[in-house]
């Protein structure tokens, strides 16, 4: 029993929570959509509260293309996208940097498995000049040998530096194993062998496969009207032609693997970086919403079961989360945390217990109501800035979701029953098929994790 010391005699009764009003309705903001004659999908999310404009170019293919090269080339798409801003046939890398920086603007590029991104951010008054540069970067990259070598050296050093991070090592092996023989198995940033071998020819072919008008979604965000956006886009992209290359066909989704332990030696580790899970679902899967509400309860936020167990009850960790990471063609489920070496086995036991619990027993009515309130209350927070709205609008197009997906989202969440949650857990959680990937002190872990099966042990040069 806590001994409570109050500071003053107050008239206020603090024992009961105040009554709250009904949350105000928050509709998903409307946005402008059009298609150009050469097939570019255009979105405009107009918001003139601040004098800023973002342009976001999203091409509907990314690092998964690395898998389809004659021999697999992890890192290729990512290096191609990084090189875009490093020089065009009209401007050198330094000229691009000088002008963008002088205008107080920024440009960036990168990719994930499903998409390649190029974006600019600037004050409205400089938008036209910045847009001309980003257009040049997309249409006319030079991929000079000198810039390729520079990016190659930097990338090799990044790969080396990333092996200092246990979470990175655990994730890399987890992804490789969970998606084995599927395009998502390759590390987006690449590996040493592949990065060393990538040639200018590879890059040019990769560029051709990703960068063409029909593959492009452009979102204009902020202080810009649809008319302004369309006219600027036409000025720079109307003459851009489609390459006529066939779209890459994806293989069948991989199957769930049997349980296995992977240990990666992390020099000097005082903690284990744990990532454990199995195959999940793709983003446009019809069960996405029940699966995600179920996951929220399980490990999706601070007061979820896994964090409560591992942090608040046991004091094992600073934090633990679970997630369904859903990409366009497949997805995975995982639990992630960092704990001291000697409590790694206990931690895994608790994780498995929580997964079994949500699979075998209905959640309480109260727990379900609370999580619905949390998701409903938190939803407006995700629509705070026009760029957050744009991320969702782009997602609708990229993952081919229904147009009314976000306007009906909360309704669908609130209609879920205890049975829906249990079914989602029953169908999509497989505690007997966990791939357990841990970076840490492999010598100690090999012993303490014996009961989870034989371990495959590797160094950090994975």
């Amino acid at each position: 029993m806590a001994i409570v010391k109050l500071r003053s005699t107050e008239n206020l009764d603090r024992t009961k929570p105040p009554k709250s009003g009904k949350p105000k309705d928050m509709k998903f903001p409307g946005f402008f959509e059009a298609k150009t004659s050469n097939g570019i999908t255009v979105l405009v999310i107009e918001d003139n509260r601040l004098p800023l404009v973002t342009s976001r170019f999203v091409f509907r293919s990314g690092a998964a293309e690395d898998f389809f090269c004659e021999s697999k080339k992890p890192g290729l798409s990512s290096i191609t996208s990084e090189l875009l801003t490093k020089g065009t046939i009209n401007r050198s890398a330094t000229e691009i940097a000088n002008e963008i920086d002088y205008l107080g603007a920024s440009i960036g590029s990168g990719c994930n498995y499903d998409a390649t991104f190029v974006s600019s951010y600037s004050l409205k008054k400089y938008f036209s000049r910045v847009f001309d540069i980003i257009s040049d970067v997309i249409l006319n990259p030079s991929f000079s040998d000198e810039e390729i070598e520079r990016v190659r050296i930097q990338r090799l050093n990044s790969l080396l530096a990333m092996t200092d991070d246990g979470d990175y090592l655990a994730e890399k092996v987890f992804i490789r194993e969970v998606y084995k023989d599927f395009p998502y198995e390759l590390p987006i940033d690449g590996d040493e062998e592949s990065v060393k071998s990538i040639s200018r020819k590879d890059i040019l072919l990769n560029y051709k496969k990703i960068f063409y008008p029909e593959n492009l979604i452009v979102a204009f965000v902020g202080d810009i009207t649809p008319d302004e956006a369309i006219s600027k886009l036409n000025e720079n992209f109307a003459g851009w032609e489609n390459s006529g290359l066939e779209k890459t066909e994806f293989p069948e989704t991989p199957s769930i693997k049997s349980q296995k332990v992977f240990l990666i030696e992390k020099k000097g580790a005082v903690q284990s970086s744990i990532k454990t899970g199995h195959l999940g679902i793709h983003r446009s899967h019809p069960d996405y919403i029940p699966v995600n509400v179920m996951n929220t309860l399980l490990g999706g936020f601070f007061t979820s079961r896994i964090n409560k167990n591992l942090r608040e009850v046991n004091g094992f960790t600073y934090g633990a989360r679970s997630q369904f990471h859903c990409c366009k063609h497949s997805g995975d489920f995982s639990v992630m945390t960092e704990v001291k070496t000697d409590i790694t086995a206990d931690t895994l036991d608790e994780i498995i217990k929580e997964i079994n619990d949500i699979k075998n027993k209905n959640v309480s009515a109260e727990e379900l109501r609370d999580v619905k309130n949390y998701i409903s209350g938190n939803f407006p927070m995700q629509l705070e800035t026009p760029n957050e709205v744009a991320t969702k609008a782009i997602g609708l197009k990229l993952y081919e979701l229904d147009d009314d997906y976000y306007s009906t989202y909360l309704n669908k969440v609130n209609q879920l029953t205890k049975e829906d949650i249990r079914q989602a857990a029953e169908k999509y959680l497989h505690p007997g098929n966990l791939l357990i990937s841990i970076a840490g002190d492999t010598k100690a872990l090999s012993k303490s994790l014996k009961k989870f099966g034989d371990a495959e042990v590797t160094g950090d040069n994975i």
Partner: protein, 431 residues
Amino acid sequence: MKSLGLKKVSENLTNDFPAIEYREYILKNGLKVVLCNTGNIPIAAVNTTYHTGSRDEIVGKTGLAHLIEHLMFEGSPNIPRGKFDEILAKNGGESNAYTTRDFTSYFISVPSSHLETAFWLDSDRLSGFGITNESLEIQKDVIIEEKLMYNDNSPYGSLDEEISKRLYDGTNYSWPVIGKMDDIRNMNLKDVEDFYNKHYTPSNTVISVTGDIEYERTIELIEKYYGEIFCSLNETKTEIYPKKITKETSAYIKDDIHLEGKFIFYQIPPAGTKEFYSFKILSGILSSGESSRFFQELEYKNNLVHEADSSAFSYEKSGVFMISAIALKGKDMQIIENKINGIIEDIISGNINDREFNKIINRLETRFSSRLQSIVGLSDRFSYLKTIHNDCSKINFEINDYLVLTKKDISDAAGKYLNQNQRIVLNYIPK
């Protein structure tokens, strides 16, 4: 309801900058309040900042301020252990907190219809002490894992600890905010309660509320939940008098890393001074964007570094200018250091061109125009300005502190504070 010190800012800074309107109040128990209605979407953010941090600790009890930050979520007179975040979540809200050397900030975001629940939860922590030994022991374990994760198990993770003890030797800035491992382990409930009683008082607190709020209704609610909390204790501020550095110190630290790192630190005047703004501009010239001097000289033209950066940051009583370089594998750190020294000497000699100076001003304009994006960030900024500078108008006018500066101010500041005998150099080398 009484509200003193009402102040409203509505003048536009220039035609280009949208001004942020806000109101300030002081309650009769000394609690300071900043309210800012940003309308838009139906959420509100509450930031409660206590003007106490690790500098108010003593040797042997380091980490106490941060430990209390954890414990403030673990039970108060009317909210049992574990319920704070649960109640908040089922009302659609979220919370978090952080501790610095000088202050501790708690923030909550909720649907604006549930703002009163946020005040009820947050004010209960100020209304009395309700932390148990059980909570204390669990949170000590959690913090030990936090320290292992961020410091011991992270590359270059000991940097803050290694530099603070050298840069602020003999002062309460000399230990890391998270504290020393043994101190955390040995802390008892009385330590926690004494610190709480001394520093968690209304007059030591600023509350900033932003988002979809009505001014009258919100200040009424704050009066209701916080206005009647009185305590007679007076907190005393721990003064900090950093010793001037007059001789270069160099140290080598072995770490589980693959790439060598060099970190150079200088003491500079704190935030709010003309010199500090000068150093902010200097860090832009040195390292912001791919046209910056560091990127061009160290990375692009000479392929020496994987990353090179600089930054000016500040505690309440002292500022820090930091330069960092992570070498590409196999490159000679001495060559990198010589290049950095050359660039700093060039700046000190007054060699700054108009274009690079104006570039940073343009960048500031973009950043300043986007300062109203997140209500959580805005409430945090108001609390910081009120707590550390006692001046919320900086939210609209701080840009002026930059615009008055000249190229000469930058090179003068560098000439005064960035000499080699004024710095501490930490070299991280692979084990």
